[in-house]
Amino acid sequence: MPRYAMVVDTQRCVGCADCVVACKTENNVPDGFCRDWIVQDVTGVFPDLQMEIRSERCNHCENAPCVRSCPTGASYIEEGGIVLVDHDKCTGCKACIAACPYDARYVHPDGYVDKCTFCIHRVKEGLEPACVEVCPTQCLHFGDLADPNSEVSQLLKTRHYHTLIPEAGTEPKIFFLT
């Protein structure tokens, strides 16, 4: 069974936000909301500053607190490890939003909770998520961690990387190459 993951090469990302626009267009994300976003993370003391630019989204956690907190089973893990929301079961109680340490979810104006789906409709057709496809610096990589020869597996073998808030124990599946 595949274990889909995304690898973000922060050495290549310039923060152009094409991924954000592509996602909004592909998934018809309503005005005022976004499923992915760009973060500039600056550390150090002037003049020795370091900046990491990251394209962030739902981490499709292996140990997803949103799925655990959902009282109706609307939040679930789809085959391939993609965390999804079944709109038909969602009551809009917002427990999953409170449970997500990444603040990756929002309430869609239609009432259900919405988030990144890894463009599962495209993945099922053998395509890459919209954000990955449009990235002009090719800093986004999508693939199957269960396949040791996949591009994402190889990148994680050969490069240093980190995940977001690993101490929360969520086992995120978005990896940031450093």
């Binding site: 009551t91 340490p101 603040d103 009432g111």
Partner: protein
């Protein structure tokens, strides 16, 4: 320095810059749930101890209000839902990992139980009211024959209700201020205390007032202990939990929490109750109202502060 900035523009409704997903509805429900838990717990307890005639307010009179309060709490919960037509979905799944699922099933049991408990004692408070329908009268007579068993189950469910209101929040690892096991017992004891306060407000005989004041002082002492324990736990924990505690130790919630909740909602009414037991003539309504006010404000502050505390800070 460590600075995180979102540069693609992100200001999502209810999410940014910090969560505001739960407004007045959830704290009001948590308060009413705790209050009903306190009312039903002591009603069933003193009923089982055979003190029904000695303490009629606790056992019979106040529980008549419990279904009403619970209905208002459920209405608040319903109003909080973003997808109200799907409310039935809570009852098409049993999710053992989700505290909210536990809570919704607990409510599905305790709400009808609170109505039945009120109907079982209605004739003692209002003998002139006759229940309609033969089947209803037969059903209530049947329950009255098994009232002790019913009361035991009520104690269990009342405790579950009181505890769950805190556990609901403490299960959210993502919100450091909620992520403490103390919230469960704290909300349970606070719920019991508000239940006692409402009884105190409605009680008429001196014996009952004395008893309620005595138990309430104990509840207040336990609450204060738990609050101290809460902050000790945070301060001995990780940096994000220390930051969460700082919201109340010099941060934005400091004044309202320590002055209004702890001072005016716990210590001052506890002192008034103590003086009253000692024979001073102090209107019991003052202490009772302050405890109810403190209980409500505690939930408002805890719900808001939890949403304000987070792992990231952007």
């Amino acid at each position: 320095m460590h600075e995180i900035t979102i540069t693609s523009g992100r200001n999502m409704h209810l999410i940014d810059p910090y969560l505001t997903i739960w407004g007045w509805e959830i704290p009001v429900y948590l308060f009413l749930g705790g209050l009903v838990s306190g009312i039903l717990f002591f009603s069933a307890l003193f009923f089982l101890r055979g003190k029904a005639d000695q303490y009629p307010t606790i056992v019979y009179r106040t529980p008549l209000l419990a279904p009403l309060f619970l209905a208002l709490g459920l209405l608040a919960l319903f109003l909080d839902l973003e997808y109200k037509l799907h409310v039935f979905r809570f009852y098409t799944a049993i999710r053992l990992e989700s505290p909210m699922s536990w809570g919704s099933w607990t409510l599905a049991v305790i709400f009808p139980m609170s109505i039945l408990w009120a109907l079982m004692h209605l004739h003692r408070v209002y003998p002139q009211i006759k229940l309609p329908f033969r089947w209803l009268n037969q059903g209530i007579a049947f329950l009255n024959r098994h009232a002790r068993l019913f009361a035991w189950i009520l104690i269990v469910y009342a405790s579950l209700l009181g505890m769950y209101t805190g556990i609901l929040l403490s299960a959210f690892n993502a919100r450091p201020f909620w992520n403490t096991a103390i919230l469960g017992p704290l909300f349970l004891v606070s719920g019991l205390s508000t239940g006692l306060a409402l009884n105190l407000l409605l009680a008429k005989n001196h014996q009952e007032i004395q008893l309620l004041s005595k138990i309430d002082i104990m509840a207040i002492a336990v609450e204060l202990f738990l609050i101290i324990h809460l902050f000790m736990g945070f301060l001995a924990s990780t940096q994000i939990h220390i930051e969460a505690a700082k919201l109340f130790l010099g941060g934005p919630y400091t004044a309202e929490f320590w002055i209004l909740v702890v001072g005016l909602g716990l210590i001052f009414p506890g002192l008034l109750e103590f003086l009253e037991i000692r024979g001073r003539c102090i209107p019991r309504q003052i202490a009772a109202s302050l405890i109810l006010f403190g209980g409500l404000l505690l939930r408002f502050i805890v719900v808001e502060a939890g949403q304000y505390s987070q792992w990231f800070s952007w």
